[in-house]
């Protein structure tokens, strides 16, 4: 049985692989999955009102009946076909495995079904049925073994990165610069693309990214945790905080997860502010450092946190609980704003001096 098409090969020439009634996009590289689905989307839906023929389901909650209902009905808008994407579909496949096996053998001709999976084992009947139905199966994973990774980087990732630089960012990325960039960032395609976008802006009139430019601009500043983002925000460095946020999101972090991490620290700042204000209202002053100690800030972080809280100011410090609550509710659906904007708004609030 033929191996599934790898995402970088598919993205290099998507027109060679037109969408079939069933598609499976699997793997643990979220950036690649997103790019592949975007290509399938434009191929199926076309321009104009095609977007109204797109249905996205959350595989953890989706019901097969609703998915089939979409697929069976001729499209009302766009180029004539519907696109139904079931995201995070592993649980959906487990739940409706036999029905999906049947569907792959006799799919609707009115719609295209795309299942986005973490894994797609070759020994399952669904995999075999997909192969015999000529379904578009795209592998979006990155090799995990060091030996495989090295050859994969040389054979697939570097060509993808140079092509991406040329087609999307309109700059030339020589092999040496590409190798250096991968060396510094690692094989995380979302982060690589973010850095490429930044480097494209820094490139000179010749629109070429040299290895030297990569060394100067990227400089190993790689966001590993949300703490860097939070520190930048509390230090008043809004652009850096927003940049770190972008990196976190590009590396596949969930917005609600990022908020949860920063909330852990911010709640301590909020509690310290409240303690200080309560003591002041009761007529006996309290040292900020002592308030921070009471909230559980570790000794080695006391000095830095105290400076950050002083910079934030008591007025903003007393609003922290409210800001966190609002961001939390907004991310859970109260606001129509995009999750990234909700987090950026929190960053801007934290960056402003109180």
């Amino acid at each position: 049985m033929a191996k599934p098409l790898h995402a970088v090969d598919y993205l290099a020439k998507p027109e060679k692989h037109p969408p079939q009634p069933v598609g499976v996009v699997f793997g643990d590289e979220p950036f690649l999955c997103k790019q592949v689905i975007l290509k399938i989307r434009s191929a199926v839906l076309g321009l104009q009102d095609g977007e109204f023929s797109l249905s996205e389901f959350d595989g953890r909650e989706a019901v097969l009946r609703d998915v089939l209902e979409e697929l069976d009905t001729v499209a009302m808008f766009g180029d004539g076909r519907r696109l139904v994407v079931v995201e995070d579909a592993d649980q959906f496949v487990t739940q409706y495995r036999s029905e999906l096996e049947d569907y792959v053998g006799s799919p609707s001709n009115a719609g295209v079904l795309v299942l986005e999976l973490k894994s797609f084992p070759a020994n399952t009947r669904l995999y075999k049925a997909s192969a015999s139905a000529n379904a578009l199966v795209v592998d979006c994973s990155v090799p995990t073994k060091d030996t495989e990774l090295a050859s994969w980087i040389a054979a697939k990732l570097i060509p993808w990165l140079t092509a991406r630089a040329k087609q999307t960012h309109r700059v030339e990325l020589p092999q040496a610069a590409a190798e250096m960039l991968i060396e510094m960032i690692g094989p995380e395609l979302g982060l690589l693309d973010q850095e490429l976008a930044k480097l494209a802006l820094a490139a000179g009139d010749d629109k070429k990214i040299s290895a030297e430019l990569v060394g100067q601009s990227v400089g190993g500043r790689r966001a590993k945790t949300a703490w860097l983002m939070l520190d930048a925000a509390l230090d008043g460095d809004t652009p850096e905080a927003v940049l770190q946020l972008g990196r976190l999101l590009a590396s596949g972090e969930e917005p609600i997860g990022i908020l949860a991490q920063v909330s852990f620290s911010l709640r301590k700042l909020a509690a310290a502010t409240r303690l200080a204000l309560q003591a002041e209202a009761a007529g006996h002053g309290v040292q900020l450092r002592s308030a921070l100690e009471q909230t559980g800030i570790r000794p080695f972080a006391l000095q830095k946190t105290e400076q950050q809280l002083k910079r934030l100011g008591r007025q903003h410090g007393s609003k922290l609980y409210g800001w966190l609550l609002q961001a939390d509710l907004d991310l859970k659906g109260v606001s129509a704003l995009a999750p990234r904007l909700i987090l950026e708004r929190l960053i801007v609030r934290l960056s402003c001096k109180g």
Partner: protein, 373 residues
């Protein structure tokens, strides 16, 4: 604040206004209604910040003006359970006292100043038309909207207002309902290039608030919101942001469409019969027009087969199309059983158009899968 109210009238207004109150909210005060008492009138206000309502409450004797915040569940229960014709209400800002003939309730009270403002209707440019037409717009379009998907623009009804009238459109991408009719434009009110998409929930609230009234409705669309007023009730709603699809392109054009006139009642009964054996896997009913009849057939592996015939005035070339019977029923349900409508169809993969002579149009997209296998 002190008033004497007629319980039934206040209950009616309270129940209507309670329709906008959110079940959960980060602002607990929104789970209340505010009663604004001035020298001249009493106005009941509710909002969830997206949709708001102001209702003038009749039958209230005002002794001392003032504002009061009334908790939905507790005060609503008092109004429902009480058998008194009149109730005394008074508030000292911290608690509300409700007195009947043989009962008294003390409720904790929130600060009325914290209740968000809901704007009233003070527009000079608006459209005016009978409440009956507004109810018809809601009844005939709202069911076709899609409030669950991520295509937010489809979660409301598009209102297009010209100097001559109003067109309302709702769609979920599988069927589309359009109602148009005359309406008077006051002050040159038009929607122009602005997309006035009113959330489905607000449209349903408008229908409830207008219940049975025969007076006129005034509707003013602004950049980000819409205001609707009718006999003492004003409804405010933020508009759905986003672009509505080009709905006119959905109606097939061309002279090769076959037109067949049908009567709602008998056709609806036949559709319901044919749909009895449909299943999740095979939801379609095949409609075949020709030879002076329409034949509706359905077959599913689980529930057997159905074959229902109905005489129609059509002897032309046989035309067949597979449709979801629920979508056909949704259209027929909002019409009078004695009414006639025209169904237009072309081939088995083109949209089917149903229309009445009072400005109602409905498009159903056919099913594809039932033709396979």
């Amino acid at each position: 604040m002190k008033i004497i109210c007629e319980r039934e009238k206040l209950l009616h207004a309270f129940q209507t206004a309670a329709g906008v109150v959110p079940t959960r909210s980060p602002k607990p005060i929104l789970q209340n209604l505010k009663l604004e008492i001035s020298e001249q009138r009493a106005v009941l206000i509710g909002t969830d910040l997206e949709v708001g309502i102001r209702i003038e409450v009749p039958g209230i004797a005002i002794e001392v003006p003032g504002d009061i915040v009334l908790p939905i569940s507790r005060f609503g229960s008092i109004l429902r359970e009480s058998s008194d014709e009149k109730l005394d209400l008074q508030s000292d800002g911290r608690k509300t006292i409700v007195r009947g003939q043989r009962s008294e309730f003390q409720l904790p009270s929130e600060n009325p100043d914290e209740f968000p403002e809901v704007v009233g209707f003070e527009e000079e440019r608006y459209h005016e038309f009978p409440a009956r037409f507004m109810r018809e717009i809601v009844r005939r379009t709202v069911f076709a909207t899609d409030v669950e998907s991520s295509r937010y623009a489809l979660g409301g009804v598009l209102l297009e207002m010209t100097l001559e009238g109003i067109t309302a459109v709702g769609t979920d991408g599988r069927r589309l309902a359009k109602q148009e009719g005359p309406a008077k434009s006051v002050g040159g009110h038009e929607s122009g290039d602005t997309m006035t998409i009113v959330p489905t929930r607000a449209m349903q609230l408008i229908e409830r608030a207008l219940a049975g009234g025969e007076e006129n409705v005034q509707l003013a669309a602004r950049d980000n919101d819409v205001l609707v007023r009718s006999s003492g009730t004003t409804i405010y709603s933020r508009l759905v942001e986003g672009r509505f699809p080009k709905w006119r392109d959905v109606f097939p054009r061309g002279e090769d469409m076959v037109k067949i006139e049908l009567t709602v009642g008998p056709f609806h009964a036949a559709v319901r019969q044919a749909a009895i054996v449909t299943s999740e896997k095979r939801r379609g009913v095949e409609f075949t027009f020709g030879d002076g009849k329409v034949v509706m057939t359905a077959h599913g592996a689980e529930f057997g087969e159905s074959h229902v015939e109905l005489p129609v005035a059509y002897d032309g070339t046989e035309m067949s199309v597979s449709l979801d019977p629920r979508y056909m029923s949704d259209f027929l349900r909002v019409l009078d059983p004695e009414q006639t409508f025209v169904v237009e169809l072309n081939n088995n993969s083109s949209a089917v158009v149903c229309s009445t002579d009072d400005g109602y149009g409905y498009v159903i997209m056919p099913l594809a899968s039932d033709k396979k296998s």
